[in-house]
């Protein structure tokens, strides 16, 4: 049987635009709270730029800490957008429809958040353009293209640009709907954004072609972004546990793992906050849960490869790092406990929660599993990056550990508030569930009678 009912287009417009046309009571208090946290972090960043990175816990041995971990984490989250939109669009998965927009927007906001991290982590952030901007700026020196740190901004900015285009193209028909339902200056803005959309066949054809083309073109960018981020670490020969050939696919799969989980959680929140039960249905969450089992298992395989071949060489310097990771330590921080927690909450706990169908359809359990994945993936990056630096090379005299300080914790925490705030603000001005995509899905939806059974079916567009 078909789940959910086909709603009239007018009701779809009404339901999905409710978040824009009316302001829920909780909206401004929540946004203000998030804004306060972001403001506190912004002040901390200001202090940090003013007095130096000394206020962090970084030291002469561990020079990449919370900020870089957080950077990789948010880059990872950003991989949900393309995974859900482009790949599932090309694979013609019908259940992608309500999730695409939220995923793409989350992509953009998390990329923007991620880009803040390496900038504030540098010693002299005001000189960042010399690094990130591909121009010689009268110094006669172009950025050094040999370093992964220059591949990084290229890949991330390409990804940001193409994702933004992707979102805008998908938004144009919805802008037109909004244009027709608003008055005053919002109408003016939506009119400009809708770019004269009137929904004629030629416009639809162009919109569809643009969407499919961008889906296909964005895929290599999607893979390259996290590969390149992984090569920030993989290229560092001096740190044995980072110099692993598997890093690129390992990071990409891990990114999809955490990103899709984040999207599922965001969708559950939106469903709850805006009452979109008819659009974000249990079947969608269920399908995403099944996808996540596959992704999680793939990720776990890469994790095991990374660890096995870390030990495989039996090289003393690498074994030292692995010992720090897996054995009870002499230091205050017992990484092995964190390691167990991390593998448990990133793979075993969520996959167990995703296996029974009834649990996949229980939103509380799904939320718990998805949060657990994301906490775990954050820990994963930390446990990958920090021990490698702490026990670098043979010169045990220099080995040192790292203890993050409050400014780092505050800024990292505020990035979550920042992304949530941006998502909420976005949902106030643009529909977070694509109207036309839902309507299209409803039109294509039909049923097939097989004997006495009714099977959900779809019209194939191509």
């Amino acid at each position: 049987m078909q789940e959910g009912k086909v709603l009239p287009a007018a009701q779809i417009n009404r339901d999905l635009l409710r978040s824009i046309l009316e302001t829920p009571q909780w909206f401004w208090p929540v946004v203000s709270l998030l804004g306060a946290i972001v403001l506190a972090a912004a002040i901390t960043i200001g202090i940090m730029i003013n007095t130096g990175l000394g206020i962090t816990g970084l030291n002469y041995k561990v020079v990449w800490g919370f900020f870089i971990t957080n950077f990789v984490f948010w880059i990872g989250i950003s991989h949900a957008g393309v995974m859900l939109s482009a790949i599932l669009r090309l694979a013609k998965a019908e259940w992608r429809r309500p999730a695409t927009r939220a995923a793409e927007v989350l992509t953009i906001f998390s990329l923007m958040t991620a880009m803040i991290m390496p900038i504030i982590h540098t010693g002299r952030p005001w000189r960042i353009l010399y690094w990130a901007f591909p121009y010689d700026f009268a110094r006669g020196i172009w950025p050094n293209i040999r370093t992964p740190l220059v591949w990084d901004p290229s890949a991330i900015l390409t990804y940001l640009t193409s994702s933004t285009l992707f979102v805008i193209i998908a938004l144009v028909p919805d802008f037109a709907v909004l244009r027709d339902r608003t008055t005053g200056w919002p109408k003016l803005v939506y009119t400009l954004l809708a770019m004269g959309w009137e929904g004629n066949p030629r416009q639809w054809k162009l919109q569809i072609i643009a969407g499919v083309l961008l889906s296909a073109l964005i895929l290599p960018v999607f893979v390259s972004v996290h590969s390149i981020v992984s090569w920030d670490f993989g290229m560092a020969v001096a740190i044995k546990s980072w110099h692993s050939t598997v890093f690129a696919p390992y990071f990409v799969v891990g990114a999809v793992h955490s990103g899709v989980s984040a999207v599922v959680f965001a969708m559950i929140l939106l469903r709850w906050a805006y009452g979109w039960q008819d659009y974000i249905r249990h079947e969608h969450i269920d399908a995403l849960g099944r996808l996540l089992i596959v992704v999680a298992t793939g990720w776990f395989y890469f994790l095991v490869m990374e660890i096995i071949f870390g030990i495989y060489g039996l090289e003393g310097d690498e074994l030292a790092v692995r010992a720090l990771q897996f054995l009870p330590g002499d230091y205050g921080v017992a990484y092995n406990v964190w390691m167990i927690v991390f593998v448990g909450i990133t793979y075993f706990l969520p996959v167990i929660l995703w296996l029974p169908k009834a649990w996949r359809r229980n939103l509380w359990i799904m939320s718990a599993a998805c949060i657990s994945v994301n906490v775990g993936m954050w820990l994963e990056r930390y446990l990958l990056f920090v021990p490698g630096q702490a026990n670098k090379q043979f010169q045990t005299f220099t080995w040192n550990d790292y203890l993050p300080q409050w400014p780092e914790a505050l800024i990292v925490g505020a990035t979550f508030a920042f992304v949530s705030m941006l998502m909420l603000l976005f949902s106030r001005v643009f529909p977070l569930v694509p109207l036309y995509d839902i309507k299209e899905g409803d039109i294509l939806r039909t049923e097939i009678q097989v004997g006495r059974r009714t099977v959900p079916a779809t019209f194939r567009e191509d």
Binding site: T51, G52, L53, G54, T56, L58, N59, Y60, K61, V63, W64, P118, H121, T122, G123, R124, P125, R127, I128, Y130, W131, A132, R139, I141, P143, N144, R146, T147, P148, L149, V150, D232, M235, A236, V237, A238, I239, Q389, K392, Q393, F394, Q395, T396, F397, T398, N400
Partner: protein, 264 residues
Amino acid sequence: MPNASYEHKWGMVVDLDKCTGCQGCVIACQAENNIPINTKDYFLQRRAYEWIRIERYWEGEYPNVKARFMPVLCQHCENAPCEPVCPVYATYHNEEGLNVQVYNRCVGTRYCINNCPYQVRMFNYWHPNWPARLENQLNPDVTVRSRGITEKCTFCVQRIRRGELKVESQGGQRLNDDTIAAGNYDPACVQACPTNALMFGDLSEDRQPSPSAIKPYFDDVNAHPGHGEHDRETRGYRLLEEMNTRPSVIYLKKVDPYPLKGGH
């Protein structure tokens, strides 16, 4: 500019057999290169730094124990892992075999620190401070580095430059071991070392008439790279040779006439 007609390739030899771990080189470096004073706070934050450090290792189990010392400074690798990873060319290899750090270019990404296997690159977490009475002792030839940049041993490039200027440009002679020593153009640590455990010299190929005293060690190590370690005639080796970084610093093994009983 120094006289470009003379080629140089600077190198150093560290004789571990002579090193007593006295930290003289560390202090000399500190004074010469305007390195901030490592206060108690800095130590507790694990941000105290030295451009040359004496690594101290214990051999054996107490009470049957020996202390081993190893001065570690920037190895000025010919194939330096820190160089390709800097996005702004703040570190590069110059034509005299030095791995130089351009403080003005540095934005402080700290990738070079991570990619240095010897852990000799140091980051300025705080703005450097000296007590007022010490401010006049700062070396005017050396930049006082601001916070937020990476710095490291330069082989006292300011002294080398002075030597090139005085001896080569003005005197018309080529720098050699004798003229370097006579004019104090060698790095501060070399000059300060009471046991002459550190030796500095020019390794360039076309050196005539007298090659540097440290050249034979390099020739020997280069002739038996990597796995030829056991065939070497001298005690020379390089740190972390398998990294393929080809450092310009060679260490001479310690001669241990009385090895620890039962030690490994």
